[in-house]
């Protein structure tokens, strides 16, 4: 019987499977907080098992009776409909195997498989390089003797000298003197924490006191003395920072990013970039609230940080 719309209520048959499914989901959610390695997978497994039974139960009506397949009964015209077109022969008597159904399924199935196989490498090449492991850069900025204590330098360098100007970056570096026997540097990225424009020193720079160093591998480092008395400012939308990179005005959502560094054979080596929520104190005594590198404009503290829970590989 073909049920007419409105003939019967649309209430599902009573079953406990949804309850079990819900319990499994609840268990998985609790497990995520309590014990993500054990409880959460158990909850997930429970949910999957009950979901399976639930779906099987709900679709029993449709799966139960196999649909009888109509054999092909296409009436062929006695003569060609269009002059010049051959008339279709009458189907052979007794030819009842639904060959067109088979061909239809085979075409869709084989086409789907081929399409899937072709798509996999395409998807991989589209997203792989962008989201795979990113290359590490260790930039040699030359001898630390080029950094007098307490003096700021504009430092231009190449993240990857082989790729040329497009990887040119700028950092603002101040040598803070030795701390516990090791040299202490403040290395601030010039990428604005608002939308990534290059922040500028609020104060004079001295291009006549420029030093260019070739540190090998095509790396060309330029040091320019500067005096950022008013901190740093962004030309795009007016973000302002103090000398430690703390936001003082404008749209930025946090402090300026900083670079890790190490000293190797008396040379200053740049490492990874990290994000900074704020800096207390200054110079070598500064307390830096350090976070994983986030893009400009992305909050790393405060309630807004819930909008940026995950970061792609860097």
């Amino acid at each position: 019987m073909e049920p007419e719309h409105g003939d019967r209520p649309h209430s599902p048959a009573p079953t406990l499977y949804p309850v079990g499914f819900a319990a499994g989901i609840a268990c998985a959610l609790v497990g995520l907080i309590v014990n993500p390695t054990l409880i959460a997978p158990i909850g997930g497994a429970i949910a999957i098992v009950f979901a399976f039974f639930w779906v099987r139960d709900a679709t029993a009506e449709y799966r139960g009776v196999p649909q009888p397949v109509e054999p092909e009964r296409r009436g062929a015209p006695a003569v060609g409909a269009v002059p010049g077109e051959a008339a279709m022969p009458e189907p052979e008597p007794g030819e009842r195997f639904p060959r067109n159904k088979f061909l239809e399924g085979a075409t869709l199935g084989v086409g789907g498989v081929i399409g899937g196989i072709v798509t996999i490498p395409v998807i991989g090449m589209t997203f792989g390089p962008a989201f795979g492991k990113q290359g590490k850069h260790h930039v040699d900025l030359g001898s630390i003797d080029d950094f007098p204590v307490g003096e700021w330098k504009i430092v231009h360098f190449f993240l990857d000298p082989n790729q040329g100007d497009v990887t040119r970056r700028t950092a603002y570096i101040r040598y803070n003197g030795p701390l516990n026997g090791a040299p202490s540097f403040t290395i601030i990225s010039n990428r604005c924490a608002h939308l990534g424009c290059p922040v500028q020193p609020n104060g004079p720079s001295f291009p006549d006191q420029t030093k260019s160093i070739d540190t090998g591998g095509g790396q060309h480092v330029t040091l320019i003395k500067m005096l950022p008395a008013g901190g740093f400012g962004c030309p795009c939308h007016g973000g302002q920072y103090d000398q430690e990179g703390n936001r003082t005005a404008g749209p930025p959502v946090r402090s300026l990013d900083r670079y890790e560094y190490s000293i190797r054979n008396g040379h200053l080596i740049l490492g990874k970039t990290f994000s900074v929520a704020k800096v207390k104190g200054s110079g070598k005594d500064a307390i830096i609230y350090r976070y994983r590198l986030a893009g400009p404009g992305q909050h790393i503290t405060g309630w807004e940080q819930i909008f940026y829970p995950l970061q792609p590989p860097q």
Binding site: F127, P129, A130, F131, Q134, L159, D160, Q163, G164, D165, V166, T167, L195, G196, C197, P198, C236, A294, G295, P296, G297, Q298, F307, Y308, P309, L310, Q311, P312, P313, Q314
Partner: protein
């Protein structure tokens, strides 16, 4: 038809017409393309359709100008960080009429977007987005998004300071989208940092991916326009829509397209009430 002196043709003229018509008839008999084109071009439109109805065609023309000039520019442009700017200078200063074709592409981009918005405003103010044309409004909005994406990706290609920093800001704006933002930005950059791949992928998106999508969506857009017919202005006293829509209403009241509620006043503004 009355046979007058004017319609009686000389044998010479008949032979001439036959010679002209032969290739057209040849093509029509084998493909039906001529009839299809006539069906597409010589549709019935409401008698009180006006100049505002031409904004869609104007937008299409602007897009075709963009596509044509873009193809020519692609013959001379070199999407490499070390050569992109120089190749733009070469196009502007050295290539014959390069300054004109590049200018058409650059200013035509703004014309295209402006016409998109005028066309959208016309459809909105005429109420032409209402049943049964909602789907065409959605397709149009997708076309608008694609047009904006073309503007964003094309802006980087001159590879000067303005375009570079505008793109930095644009990518980082995308990066502030909640949850997915950092991944969108990473995809647009092609990695954690802007590099040589960024320019190449913007170029590919700008001239292959999005134009392909725009062509497909324009095809769908026009299909729906032809299928549903052009709507009358809101002050019209005529019924709007293609003939068959009206026929469906009277002959097949159960069709999903022709629920009685759909025959509301907007389609017969002040006209003959049921």
């Amino acid at each position: 038809m009355a046979v007058s002196a004017r319609t009686r043709k000389s044998a010479r003229r008949q032979r001439l017409e036959a010679a002209i018509n032969y290739p057209i008839d040849w093509l029509e008999e084998r493909s039906g393309l001529v009839g299809g084109l006539r069906y597409f071009l010589f549709r019935k439109v409401p008698g009180d359709s006006n100049w505002f109805h031409t904004l869609g065609s104007a937008t299409l023309t602007a897009f075709l100008v963009q596509a044509t000039t873009g193809v020519i520019l692609a013959m001379y442009y070199k999407p490499e960080p070390k050569t992109a700017y120089a190749s733009i200078q070469h196009i502007t200063n050295d290539v014959t009429l390069g300054w004109l074709v590049r200018g058409m592409h650059k200013w035509g981009a703004s014309v295209f977007i402006i016409l998109l918005f005028f066309h959208m405003a016309r459809v909105f103010l005429f109420g032409a987005y209402k049943y049964p044309r909602e789907l065409n409004w959605i397709v149009g909005v997708l076309l608008l998004v694609m047009g904006m994406a073309e503007g964003f990706t094309g802006y980087l290609l001159p590879w000067d300071q303005t375009s570079y920093w505008a793109t930095v800001v644009g990518i980082n704006l995308n990066g502030t989208v909640p949850f997915l933002g950092p991944y969108i930005a990473q995809f647009l950059r092609g990695g954690a940092e802007i590099g040589p791949d960024t320019l190449a992928r913007f170029y590919s998106i700008h001239m292959l991916l999005i134009p392909g999508a725009i062509f497909a969506l324009i095809g769908l857009h026009l299909y729906l326009v032809v299928r549903l017919g052009v709507s009358s202005p809101p002050w019209s006293k005529e019924a709007a829509g293609a003939d068959w829509v009206e026929e469906q209403v009277t002959t097949n009241g159960r069709s999903g397209l022709t629920q009685p509620a759909a025959r509301s006043s907007w389609r017969r503004n002040g006209g003959d009430a049921e």
